[in-house]
């Protein structure tokens, strides 16, 4: 290795002539050829739609000469946004998703962290079994998971309902108060193992020597876990939180499936369902404005959370 390295530093200046433009690397044309296969579709299918949605959200459809006139699309300023913010259904969907996120995300991440810490101790046997069991739901599509759970919620088919009834309970997983938490349970089931694995691989990367001193001082596994391990993997916990916030605001498949068996989920249950319902009614400009608002909220929350935690932890 050192031989190659010294040879490289010795010879590079000689060939530097045609490379000097960008400081010793390959020519710009080559770099562009490496980047284009990704950036072309990235621009076309990521950036252009974002720009297009923003553009559409500032347009309105008007009609000439009353109700039966021809319609035309024109610039409407913040008219669509004003409509979004005056829409009671929009605020109701935001409220549901906010409640969902405040409860589901911490519960899920707490379970994931607990599992990751237990898997990282010498306490436990059967580690690979537990790891695979927790991670398996990640292989299940959200729609399929919601269909599976909807059978477990259904009063006719569910063995869970049967068991609870046998001990004298009357569960109604699809009732007006419970259905939001039934959806939250599907998300928790799906994503706990994934988050656990991110935290677990961060834990695995910590050098064992870091614990040695603490162990010699007689620290328990418990205090090593909470005082040493958790602070070190804080960046992974922040990362999983941000991904969870994004996921929560995008929620669509799980409630859409539960809606097929429960009348307590409206077509505008989550912000995303509302956007889709509005778009299905051909009101694309309004749907675009809703999508933009959801995206902005997502950005503000995830960046806000990262800023907040990085200041607190000094990361």
């Amino acid at each position: 290795m050192t031989d190659i390295a010294t040879r490289a530093t010795r010879v590079v200046p000689a060939t530097g002539g045609r490379r000097r433009l960008n400081g010793g690397g390959p020519r710009m044309g080559v770099i562009v050829a490496f980047l284009t296969p990704f950036f072309l579709p990235f621009v076309l299918f990521y950036l252009v739609p974002i720009g297009y949605a923003i553009g559409q959200s500032f347009m309105v459809v008007r009609r000439t000469g009353g109700q039966y006139g021809t319609s035309y699309t024109t610039f409407g300023g913040f008219e669509q946004y004003a409509q979004v913010f005056q829409n009671g259904e929009f605020w109701a969907s935001i409220g549901r998703i906010g409640l969902f996120g405040i409860v589901q995300v911490p519960v899920m991440l707490f379970i994931a962290l607990t599992m990751a810490l237990l898997l990282d101790t010498p306490l436990l046997k059967l580690k690979s079994f537990f790891r695979i069991a927790a991670f398996m739901p990640y292989a299940v599509p959200g729609v399929i998971a919601a269909i599976m759970w909807s059978f477990l919620y259904s009063p006719q088919l569910s063995p869970v309902v049967d068991v609870l009834k046998a001990v004298g309970l009357q569960p109604d997983f699809l009732g007006p108060g419970a259905v939001l938490w039934s959806a939250a349970n599907v998300s928790t089931w799906l994503w706990t193992g994934y988050n656990m694995l991110i935290m677990y691989s961060a834990l695995q990367a910590i050098p064992q020597e870091l614990y040695e001193a603490a162990k010699l001082d007689g620290a328990s596994n418990w205090s090593i876990a909470w005082r040493i391990k958790v602070p070190i993997i804080a960046p992974s916990i922040v990362l999983t939180t941000v991904f969870s916030i994004i996921g929560t605001l995008q929620l669509y498949a799980e409630p859409a499936v539960l809606r097929q068996i429960s009348s307590n989920i409206s077509s505008t249950f989550t912000p995303n369902m509302l956007a889709y319902a509005v778009a299905s009614g051909n009101n694309y400009q309004q749907a675009a404005a809703i999508s933009v608002v959801i995206a902005v909220i997502t950005f503000v929350l995830s960046f806000g959370f990262m800023r907040l935690t990085s200041k607190k932890a000094g990361l």
């Binding site: 579709p41 990521y46 010498p122 859409a256």
Partner: protein, 285 residues
């Protein structure tokens, strides 16, 4: 791992840890077990027998009903899912690798700016893109075709992020320099030297993207009306919505759901080692 000072843990905390993990394992595995049991039952037994106990073994009849329904449309959906996910993830992994590699190994102006644009892309909710994409695609006439789902699926900013991190860790600059000295072009070096070093990372990127596309639902739902183009997720969703009217469809939804998750679970368990090697490479080195 092996050189830890042995600490005697109380029997209580060992048992408590094991019991908690078993409870959680039951929680994660119960719905899958239920699905396996339900897929082996005849429709009539679904409601009349206990959900966690096997009754009449009817799996093969269920499978032939499932694949025979509407001229074998389910087989078509399965094939579509494979096409979208395997091709999309393969192309996506290659372009992510090229881009992440260039961002990690080549120095050029605007590199950090491009990388932060990609990082921003990781945070963009993909469902927010689906509706404007639909409008753009309807203008160009590719709505309701394979391309409408395939093209957006190949873009994975997260894949580029992983590729950059993994490349920095796995491909030493010295090797690139010596390949350059031997007169190899950048592309030849990439394909003959670097890709081999990046293999575990590429498997990880491929798996992430494969699962993302296989699980995707919102994009195909927005883009596709033709049933023959549906992936499994969308097809089963449509069937599930009809079970209230056609109750016999219920057994096919259950059997179909099982068929749709088994291959992915098998791939996951087989590639576990690869998957974890890749993750570890990203976080340790």
């Amino acid at each position: 791992m092996n050189n830890q000072t042995p600490i005697r843990e109380s029997l209580f905390s060992r048992t408590a840890a094991l019991a908690l993990m078993f409870l959680l394992a039951i929680y994660f595995l119960l719905p899958i077990y239920f699905l396996i049991v339900a897929a082996t039952k005849p429709q009539g037994d679904l409601a009349s027998t206990f959900g966690l106990a096997f009754s009449h073994f009817n799996l093969f009849e269920n499978l032939s009903t499932l694949f025979g329904r509407s001229d074998g449309i389910f087989g078509r959906w399965a094939l579509n899912s494979v096409i979208y996910a395997v091709l999309g993830a393969a192309v996506g992994t290659l372009i992510s690798a090229l881009c992440g590699y260039a961002l990690a190994k080549f120095k050029f102006r605007g590199r950090e700016f491009l990388f932060s644009v990609i990082l921003g892309g990781v945070l963009v909710p993909t469902t927010a893109l689906a509706l404007p994409l639909f409008l753009l695609f309807s203008a160009t006439g590719i709505v309701n075709t394979y391309l409408a789902v395939f093209l957006p699926s190949i873009v994975s900013p997260f894949g580029v992020y992983l590729a950059r991190v993994f490349t920095s860790a796995a491909v030493p600059d010295e090797i690139l320099e010596s390949a350059r000295l031997d007169g190899a072009g950048e592309f030849r070096t990439f394909f003959s030297v670097s890709l081999k070093l990046m293999t575990p990372a590429l498997v990880t990127i491929f798996l992430f993207q494969f699962v993302g596309i296989w699980n995707n639902f919102f994009l195909p739902m927005v883009m596709l009306q033709k049933e023959s183009l549906f992936p499994i997720t969308l097809g089963l969703f449509e069937w599930n919505g009809q079970t209230a009217r056609v109750s016999l469809l219920q057994e096919s939804v259950i059997t179909g759901a099982l068929i749709s998750i088994v291959p992915v679970i098998i791939v996951f368990i087989l590639l576990q080692r690869f998957w974890r090697t890749g993750l570890a490479a990203g976080s340790i080195k």
